[in-house]
């Protein structure tokens, strides 16, 4: 009796063994998946970049994913929208009256509220972007390649 008890104590349970095997397999698969993501990240960069506009590529503060700068039409003028820190919050405001030390902005959600003064150089602000993919690069490529010559 004593011997059988001791044997039972040392035997790994089937459930424990299965759990151990499953954990090992899950960790291995997770590792390979992450490795694959890192390994192919330059390809992802290439694909994402091909869906961006040239304007976004030239803006070092632009978002990483394809997007277009937001604009707002006010009194017949197309204004660029910036992320402006006012108080403790960041508001998306359209640049109406640009200056070096201060600038005037219009709130696109409430243009009738008038000009909002903001102290600082407007070029230090980030432009507001809207997620949007473009196929312009592919269209340009299609037009550029001289297929009969290929």
């Amino acid at each position: 009796m004593k011997n059988s008890k001791q044997t039972k104590r040392h035997e790994p349970s089937t459930l424990g063994l299965r759990l151990w095997t499953f954990t090992g397999a899950a960790l291995l698969n997770l590792f390979v998946f992450i490795l694959l993501l890192v390994y192919l990240s330059p390809l992802s960069y290439m694909i994402v970049t091909s869906l961006k506009t040239r304007t976004q590529l030239q803006d070092s503060k632009a978002p990483i994913l394809p997007a277009t700068p937001r604009t707002f039409e006010y009194q017949g003028k197309v204004l660029d929208v910036y992320e402006v820190p006012i108080g403790n919050q960041i508001r998306d405001l359209a640049l109406y009256d640009p200056h070096i030390k201060y600038s005037g902005f219009i709130d696109p959600s409430n243009p009738n509220a008038g000009v909002i003064q903001w102290t600082g150089y407007y070029r230090s602000l980030n432009k507001a972007y809207t997620p949007q993919i473009t196929f312009d690069n592919y269209i340009q490529l299609w037009k550029t390649i001289k297929y009969p010559h290929v």
Partner: protein, 313 residues
């Protein structure tokens, strides 16, 4: 003494000439199939290589080809005094010493991981890991120049800027990424070799008490050593001759393939075809010496079962 001809003997006698003509026919067809490659090799490789050997003994200046004449070993002697040639040659060897071990270790590790039974969707992931190998070096260069761009590149914006680390440049990452992105063929060859090792050998080793590390070093690596040797040679030749067209506009000392770039600058920048040919031949000889050394060393670490069997017989 006349023996009665059996039916079998008649059949053999009849079959022999037919067999010979079939063999000849197969040889002719075989040559016809490989003739495009043979023609391409002779016209596009062998003749230019031999022509370069001839040019290397002349003062061939491409802007004044009419003044070309035989100068013996002068170009080769000039190489010995040319510090830039020496620096670029050692640069090329340094690139080889850096790139090839990375390729080999990464391919071997990946093949070992993929030989695990616990891994799911192997075929799909194998294809994805192989995918970058078919991308030309020039395209990889363009992708990486965007990826490592200090302003818009993901590498600096997502990793180095948040960690307040100095921006990484293209030239710091290019050789490593190029090496890692070209492991596809080596990975497949090594994976095939690992899968070819008999399961009975592992089973016997397990029974004898060999652990995973012991099995790796005592069974897997020796059994796949011919595949390792083959991939080593292939990677080596690629490391010396992979990116010649990539960096034509760059000064050779900043280049990614120093010796090739120096040859390029001599040939297209200074139009010194004679000197460039001599440099190319020096590089060819260096590469051949390294390959011969590898083949010499193979008898000590590569397991060739056929050779062992023939020795036993």
């Amino acid at each position: 003494m006349n023996f009665p001809r059996t039916r079998e003997a008649k059949e053999i006698n009849i079959a022999k000439p037919h067999h010979r003509s079939l063999a000849r026919y197969e040889v002719v067809v075989g040559f016809l199939f490989i003739s495009p490659w043979i023609l391409g090799f002779i016209l596009l490789k062998l003749i230019p290589i031999l022509a370069a050997l001839g040019f290397s003994f002349t003062n061939f200046y491409m802007l004044e080809p009419e003044k070309t004449h035989f100068i013996g070993l002068t170009n080769y002697i000039n190489i010995l005094h040319d510090q830039r040639a020496g620096a670029s040659l050692f640069g090329a060897i340094g690139t080889f010493l850096f790139v090839v071990p990375i390729e080999m270790i990464a391919a071997l590790l990946l093949a070992a991981i993929f030989s695990s039974k616990a891994l799911r969707a192997k075929r799909f992931m194998r294809t994805l890991f192989f995918l970058p190998s078919i991308i030309p070096s020039l395209t990889i260069f363009v992708i990486l120049s965007g990826l490592s761009d200090p302003g818009t590149g993901w590498l600096n914006r997502l990793i180095f800027d948040p960690l307040k680390l100095p921006a990484v440049s293209l030239y710091q990452i290019f050789p490593t990424v190029l090496a890692l992105w070209s492991i596809g063929p080596s990975f497949l060859i090594l994976l095939g070799a690992i899968q070819g090792v008999s399961g009975e050998v592992y089973e016997a080793a397990r029974v004898d008490g060999a652990g995973p590390i012991m099995r790796l070093f005592a069974i897997t690596l020796p059994m796949i050593s011919p595949a390792i040797f083959f991939t080593l040679i292939i990677n080596m030749t690629n490391a010396f001759g992979g990116v010649v067209l990539l960096d034509r506009s760059l000064p050779f000392n900043q280049s990614l393939s120093p010796m090739e770039s120096y040859i390029n600058s001599q040939m297209f920048g200074r139009a010194q075809l004679g000197y460039a040919s001599a440099l190319a031949w020096v590089m060819f000889i260096v590469v051949m010496v390294i390959i011969l050394l590898f083949f010499r060393s193979a008898r000590y670490w590569v397991y060739f079962p056929e050779e062992e069997q023939s020795e036993e017989l």
